[in-house]
């Protein structure tokens, strides 16, 4: 297993470099101009100077090389400096955002907490709701519970978050005034009252996203359980006189989890990717909002870095899913 992991990690390096290059070239070829948002009253010569100050005058391959060095060498050095007080990165250029003229990674670090709180929490809650619903729905197929569960997950699936989000805001913020419609990212939780405020401002975005996640995962869980419930080994288990709990929760569940784990593991990078629409609706200003504003502003270093980080996470969690198979199913061995 260890060999397999190391082999996969080594193979990930050329893959990621290739992904980095593809992202860079796509951004390079895409039309757009980082100065397009500058008002028309700023004359073109000035815009040209501003573009040069951003380093846009240099050829493509040199800019890609610079980005690689900044991302893989300077940024880790900076990280070490911050944690161990060394001075490796002294005077070296970090990846700088064109919009803010500040290091991209600092902004990313600033955005991670709210994204993890809101999007991460909604994922955890979504999974915790989805698994029992999926299990019960499959075990009692076509019961009223299954029907209601199917109905709710269809709603979660089909109604877009920009609709549910705004609907919740209109009901709970505008009409009832229970929850704030705008997320306060500066809130520091240090007392009971601030904790209550944090919960209040998280309720609506977490609900919207949890509904969506739960809908998806519960359908997978249900389908996977149904596949297994009619298998011979289940009949054997029952024939051996095992209790219904053991049959369902140990034998069937463990086997049904294999495809579901893939779905859950591959969904985790999306958590870090933020939820672009929900973050916009509730003004959470996490990684998703960061990415979309960077795309609008043609802030190429920011877009490049963020999409690359997402690519790394996707590759990593693919590996995690593969390893989890081995743990869940002793028949699967990679060595």
């Amino acid at each position: 297993m260890l060999n397999f992991t190391i082999r996969r990690l080594l193979m990930a390096i050329p893959t990621l470099l290739f992904i980095g290059l593809i992202i860079f070239l796509l951004l390079e070829l895409a039309p757009g101009d980082p100065m397009a948002q500058v008002p028309l009253t700023v004359p073109p010569e000035v815009k040209e100077k501003m573009r040069e100050a951003l380093g846009l005058g240099e050829p493509t391959h040199i800019r890609f090389w610079k980005w690689l060095v900044q991302f893989f060498v300077v940024e880790p050095m900076y990280f070490l400096d911050n944690h161990f007080g060394t001075a490796l990165a002294e005077g070296k250029q970090r990846v700088i955002s064109w919009q803010t003229r500040s290091p991209v990674m600092d902004i990313v670090a600033q955005r991670i907490p709210q994204t993890l709180w809101v999007v991460g929490m909604s994922y955890v809650i979504g999974v915790l709701i989805a698994l029992p619903i999926g299990i019960i729905s499959a075990y009692r197929q076509y019961s009223w519970f299954d029907q209601v569960g199917t109905f709710i997950s269809m709603i979660g699936f089909s109604v877009p978050t920009f609709f549910t989000g705004v609907l919740l805001i209109v009901i709970f913020s505008v009409m009832l005034g229970w929850f704030p419609s705008i997320y306060d990212t500066t809130l520091v939780v240090n007392s009971w009252s601030t904790f209550v405020m944090q919960v209040k401002q998280m309720v609506m975005p977490v609900f919207v996203l949890a509904l969506y996640n739960a809908a998806q995962i519960s359908r997978f869980m249900r389908a996977s359980m149904l596949d297994n419930l009619n298998q011979d080994y289940v009949r054997t288990a029952r024939a051996k006189g095992l209790s219904e709990n053991v049959v369902v929760l140990v034998h069937v569940l463990r086997n049904s989890m294999i495809p579901v784990i893939t779905v859950i593991a591959l969904g985790v990078p999306q958590v870090f990717g933020g939820a672009i629409i929900t973050e916009q609706v509730f003004k959470v200003n996490g990684l998703g909002q960061l990415l979309i504003t960077a795309i609008y502003a043609n802030d190429i270093p920011m877009v490049q870095t963020l999409t690359f980080i997402f690519a790394v996470l996707i590759v990593l969690f693919n590996l995690v899913a593969d390893i989890l198979y081995g743990i869940l199913d002793p028949r699967i061995r990679y060595d």
């Binding site: 101009d33 397009a36 028309l40 009253t41 000035v46 951003l54 419609s181 705008i182 200003n285």
Partner: protein
């Protein structure tokens, strides 16, 4: 009698009450929302409105424009003019006197050295200063004493108020930015995020593209201001959401730039938590008519002066296009109270606004048809007019934007009623307004017959704006498609007026010239103005002192804001 006195006393006490309360920081916290989040607090490194306005809470210019477009002294004692001796008779030097006793928020004194430094910072090589045009022609800034700065121009400047005036050209602290000159400018993250200023607030935390936390400047020049101890400027979301947060839920006190459909805004305002305010500046939504031939078959000479347009060079066609448009309806559909129909490309300030073209306010399809008939453009079997084998068929492009696409559809309909066929096209704003010389879709290249967008000018002086339509400003391959003369208009008379304005100092003469230029463009129908677009913002009913200003930052008088 006694009762009356007591009543008067009581009334007086009530009237005095706000005065008694007017003490720095006595009104707690103010929440401001900008649906476009500011990325940086240094207007010299970003030309964006959101950054200019956020920064205006912290750093200030020597003089700025008030809500009427009049210049008011801000950090300077008075606005220098030729009359008060501040501007030399030959219009080449301007002497600014700082108010005495001004302090930076860190407690150090503001000196003329900081004024000089601000110029040096913006004009340093490799800095990519977004506002360097403000400092055009400045050859030196001298500091004879700590409070006097003398700006010397290389040429005579009839309007010498570019440097250090308005939110675009504020004074920054020399001590703080000394190591951030030129190419080093972007590396000064801490400085760019939290400049030391003279304004009513100082930055406590800056989160780029998210939220800015501010507190009252302890060294602000008026000891009783600002009334708010702390402020939050939240960014992000959409115009709808920020309007809702002020007008419907009351979570925020001020929402910036609510470009929303008129009925949406009216519904929000009906909740009664706040009010919508609007004001007009110089932003005009207009159609630019291409006088050159955009035919792709012409290759590199496409849309250049070498090839006149096959039919738009006929003034009757251009005039008919303008006559067929119902501007009042466009306003009603697209902008409501935030727009008004206009027949001028230079609609304000009042002294520059011409009234000679107001006939265009009334739609006249019959008149347009008659004009085309008289000019020999006859309707064919398909209802499209043609003459000598040239059909009146046009490509009409603009940026992607819901209101603009509505306008396109309406105008296409009106033009079809006068026998003009129109093909519509919309281009993503970042491409359309981007100035990538390799892209065929920029508004400068104008590879179409007509295009629509909005433009305005900074401050109140239209000289450089009107100079946009000089012959030499026409975009062409020779100048890498730069320049703002989209119609490729070229008139010796017009150029003469531009030259005359550049040497005229008297305000009334300048107004006469500006009007003449505007009328010339309008009566030649090379620009078809549609809507004078105002600025719409909203503030909560409990926030007092808001004066919406389209000539400067909207937050220009945040020091006077208070809780009601």
């Amino acid at each position: 009698m006694k009762l009356k006195l007591t009543l008067i006393g009581a009334v007086a006490a009530f009237a005095m009450a706000p005065m008694a309360h007017a003490e720095r920081g006595s009104d707690g916290h103010v929440n401001i929302i900008y649906w476009q989040a500011p990325s940086i607090m240094n207007p010299y490194l970003s030309g964006g409105t959101k950054e200019l306005e956020a920064a205006s809470l912290v750093i200030e210019p020597l003089a700025r424009y008030n809500q009427d477009g009049a210049m008011v002294a801000w950090l300077a004692e008075s606005v220098p003019t030729v009359e008060n001796g501040g501007v030399s008779a030959d219009l080449t030097t301007v002497t600014w006197k700082l108010k005495s006793g001004l302090l930076w928020s860190d407690g150090s004194p503001v000196t003329s050295g900081d004024v000089k430094f601000s110029w040096e910072y913006c004009t340093a090589e490799g800095g990519g200063c977004a506002q360097s045009e403000k400092y055009n022609d400045v050859v030196s800034v001298d500091t004879p004493d700590a409070l006097t700065a003398v700006v010397t121009f290389g040429v005579s400047k009839p309007f010498p108020y570019g440097p250090f005036v308005g939110a675009q050209a504020p004074i920054i602290q020399a001590a703080q930015f000394a190591n951030c000159m030129g190419a080093k400018a972007p590396e000064c993250t801490a400085e760019n995020f939290a400049p030391i200023g003279t304004g009513p607030f100082t930055v406590t935390e800056f989160r780029p593209n998210d939220v800015i936390s501010l507190k009252a400047n302890p060294n602000y020049r008026d000891a009783s201001k600002p009334a708010f101890a702390t402020a939050t400027l939240k960014g992000g979301g959409s115009a709808t959401a920020s309007g809702r947060a002020v007008l419907e839920t009351g979570e925020f006190d001020y929402a910036w730039n609510l470009q929303l459909a008129p009925d949406v805004l009216a519904n929000m305002a009906a909740a009664g938590k706040g009010q919508v305010v609007s004001a007009f500046g110089t932003l005009v939504e207009r159609i630019m008519v291409n006088l050159t031939d955009p035919n792709p078959a012409l290759g590199d000479e496409r849309a250049t002066a070498k090839h006149p347009h096959p039919f738009l060079t006929d003034i009757n066609v251009r005039k008919a296009l303008s006559m067929a448009i119902d501007r009042e309806l466009l306003v009603e559909i697209g902008y409501g109270t935030a727009g008004r129909a206009t027949c001028n490309v230079l609609p304000a300030p009042a002294i520059y606004a011409s009234t000679a073209n107001d006939a265009c306010l009334v739609q006249d399809i019959a008149g347009a048809n008659a004009a085309l008939d008289a000019a020999g453009w006859a309707k064919g079997g398909d209802g499209i007019r043609a003459k000598d084998g040239v059909r009146l068929s046009m490509l009409y492009q603009t940026s992607t934007n819901a209101v603009r696409q509505d306008f396109q559809a309406l105008i296409k309909q009106w033009w079809s009623e006068i026998g003009v066929e129109t093909e519509l096209r919309n281009i993503d704003a970042s491409v359309f307004f981007g100035s990538d010389p390799g892209s065929p879709d920029t508004f400068q290249k104008l590879f179409a017959d007509v295009e629509m967008y909005a433009n305005n000018f900074d401050g109140t002086d239209p000289e450089s704006y009107m100079a946009n339509w000089e012959c030499k400003q026409a975009p062409s391959p020779a100048n890498q498609w730069q320049g703002n003369n989209m119609p490729r208009y070229c008139s010796a008379d017009y150029d003469a007026l531009v030259a005359e304005m550049a040497t005229t100092g008297d305000l009334n003469d300048r107004a006469r010239l500006a009007k003449a230029m505007n009328d010339m463009l309008m009566q030649d129908y090379v620009i078809i103005p549609l809507v004078d677009r105002g600025r719409v913002s909203a503030h909560s009913n409990t926030l007092g002192g808001v004066v919406l200003n389209t000539w400067d930052s909207e937050l220009w008088n945040a020091a006077d804001w208070h809780r009601m």
